[in-house]
Amino acid sequence: MLWTFNQDIKRNKVHESSGNFACGQHCLKIRDISVKADEEFIIDKINLHIHCGKLTVIIGRNGAGKTTLIKAILGEVKHSGRIEFTDLKSNAVEDLKIGYVPQNFHIEKNTPVSVYDLFAGYISRTPVFLKKSKKLYDFIKERLSIFDAQDLIDKRACDLSGGELQRVLLAIAITPMPNLLLLDEPVSGIDKNGMELFYNNIQKIKENFDLAIIMVSHDFEFVKKYADHVVLLDKTILKEGTFEEVSGCEDFLKVFGRVE
C-alpha cells in the first residue's frame, strides 16, 4: 500500500540528485489558450514561454482573467489551445506535473484533519483513518521542514494561521516534485513579515529545485524584487518583460498608477 509513497521518494531523489538547481533545460510553452464563458472570451489566445528556474508573475486588474488562466493551465476549466512541455536536452515531450497552491484555501472550523492527514491524503494510498505509518510520518516531516513547518505536523489544519497554512500548502505542492508550480495570490491575508518569509521560500524553491513557477500577485514591492518575468494580463497579454519594462507601459499606469 505504500508503493506510491515509496515511488515518490525515489522520484524526488532522482530530481534532487540531478543537481540541486534548475537546469534551465525544461521548457513550457503555453499556446493560444482561450477560455470562453457564455460566448464571451474570459482570456483570449494567451501565449507564454516559460523555463525552469524562473519566476513568472501575472499581474492585472480584478477580473482580468488571472485565476482563469491558472485554472486553464491546471485543466480545471475547459479551454482551447495547448500546453507543451519539452526537455530541451532530449527534445522529448514529457508529462507535465503541476503543483498548485489555491487562492482561497479554507478549512471549516473544527474539522478533524491534522496536517499529517492533509498531507498523507495526497501522497499515500494507505487510508488516513488507519494507524499512522512511521515511515510516512518521517517523510512528511522532512518535506515540511523545507519551509520550517515540521512542528505543525500534528496540529489540526483548521487551527493554523494564514502563514503556517501557506507553508504547509507549499510543501504539499512540491511533493512529489512538479515541473511547474502554480501560485494563485498565495499571500492574501498574510502580514508583511509573513510575506517576506513567503517570498524567501519561493526564492529557495527556485534556487534549489528544478521547476518553473507561475504566480498571480499584487505586491509590487515583492514582484519587483523577486520576479524574473512579469506578465500584464487583461483578457490578453498587454505587456510582458521585466518589472521595470511592464510598470512603465501605458496600460500598467492606467490601472495601477506609478509604482516606485
Binding site: 485554472k71 491546471l74 485543466g75 480545471e76 503541476i98 503543483g99 498548485y100 489555491p102 484555501f105 478549512i107 471549516e108 473544527n110 474539522t111 478533524p112 484533519v113 491534522s114 499529517y116 492527514d117 492533509l118 498523507a120 491524503g121 495526497y122 499515500s124 494510498r125 494507505t126 487510508p127 488516513v128 483513518f129 488507519l130 494507524k131 499512522k132 500534528d154 489540526r156 500548502l169 504539499i172 505542492a173 502554480l182
Partner: protein
C-alpha cells in the same frame, strides 16, 4: 444462522435475547451502525447532510414508481431511482447555477410529493406508513445477509478510495492538481450513499435515517483532532447508541429508531460540551 443465534444466547445472558426477532434486530444494528458511523464521517466533512436527507425522502418516489410499473421488488425500483436521483443531483450541483441547499430542497420536496401523491391514490397510504419510522424488529435473516454484503462493499470502497474522497472534500482545485478524478470520486460516493440509504431505509425509517447517518459523526467531530480519532469516535458512538437504543426500546416499548436517535443526540450534546471546554 442457528449457530449465530446460539452464540448470541451464550454470550448475552439477558431475557430479551431469547426472542428471535431481537436477535435479528441486534445483528442488524451491529451491521448498520458501524456502516453509518463510517459513512457519516465523510457525509459531515463533505457537507452532504442535506443530500443524504433528500435521498431518504426520494425512497417514497422509488417505491411509487415501482408500484406503477408493476415491479414486484420495490428494493430494486427504489435503489435504481435513488441512483439516478443522486447522479442527477450531483451533476446539477456541479453546474453551480443555484446554491446547493436550495437546489436539494427543491428536488427532495418535489420527489417526495410525487411519491406521496402516487402512493396515496385511492387512500392506500397507510400501507406504506411503516416506512416513515422503519421497523428493525421485522428484519429477517436473508435481509441481514444483504446488509452484510453492503457493509463489506463499503469497507472495500473505504480502503481503496478514502484518501481521494478525503482530498476532494478538502479542496477540489488542489485535488485536481494532484490528478484526482473529482467527478468519479464524487459520483461514486453519491451512488454508494444512495444504495446504502435505500437498502436500509425499511429498517431505519425515512424520518430518522439522516439523523443516524450524521449524528455519530457530528458528535465524533466535536472531540476528534485527526482522522483516526474521528473514525474511532464516530464508530463507537454509532454502535453504542444503536445497541443501547435497541435494548431500551424493548423495555420501554418505544419505536427503536427514534430511541437510538435520542441517545445519539444526547451524546452529541455531551461531546459538544467536552469539545468547547477542551478548546478553551
Amino acid at each position: 444462522m442457528n449457530t449465530i443465534y446460539n452464540l448470541l444466547e451464550t454470550i448475552l445472558p439477558f431475557s430479551w435475547i431469547e426472542y428471535n426477532f431481537m436477535k435479528n434486530a441486534l445483528l442488524a444494528v451491529v451491521i448498520i451502525t458501524p456502516l453509518f458511523g463510517i459513512l457519516g464521517t465523510m457525509i459531515v466533512n463533505n457537507r452532504m447532510a442535506f443530500f443524504s436527507d433528500a435521498l431518504g425522502h426520494s425512497a417514497l418516489t422509488g417505491i411509487a414508481l415501482g408500484a406503477i410499473m408493476g415491479i414486484a421488488d420495490t428494493n430494486f425500483s427504489m435503489t435504481a431511482y435513488a441512483i439516478i436521483f443522486a447522479v442527477l443531483l450531483n451533476y446539477i450541483k456541479n453546474k453551480k447555477t443555484l446554491s446547493t441547499d436550495t437546489l436539494i430542497s427543491v428536488f427532495s420536496s418535489f420527489s417526495m410529493a410525487l411519491g406521496l401523491v402516487i402512493l396515496s391514490r385511492g387512500g392506500n397510504f397507510s400501507k406504506y406508513s411503516s416506512l416513515l419510522l422503519g421497523d428493525i424488529l421485522s428484519i429477517n435473516p436473508m435481509e441481514i445477509r444483504l446488509l452484510c454484503i453492503i457493509l463489506i462493499v463499503t469497507l472495500i470502497y473505504w480502503f481503496v478510495g478514502f484518501n481521494k474522497l478525503h482530498s476532494v472534500a478538502i479542496n477540489t482545485s488542489l485535488a485536481k492538481s494532484k490528478k484526482i478524478n473529482i467527478n468519479l470520486v464524487e459520483a461514486s460516493f453519491c451512488i454508494l450513499i444512495a444504495v446504502i440509504v435505500m437498502l436500509s431505509i425499511k429498517w431505519v425509517g425515512i424520518l430518522i435515517i439522516n439523523a443516524l447517518l450524521t449524528l455519530p459523526a457530528a458528535a465524533g467531530r466535536n472531540i476528534a483532532s485527526n482522522m483516526r480519532e474521528y473514525h474511532l469516535f464516530s464508530l463507537l458512538i454509532s454502535v453504542f447508541s444503536g445497541i443501547t437504543g435497541l435494548i431500551l426500546s424493548f423495555y420501554l416499548g418505544t419505536a427503536t429508531g427514534p430511541t437510538v436517535v435520542i441517545i445519539a443526540a444526547l451524546i452529541f450534546f455531551i461531546t459538544l460540551i467536552i469539545g468547547t471546554v477542551k478548546s478553551k
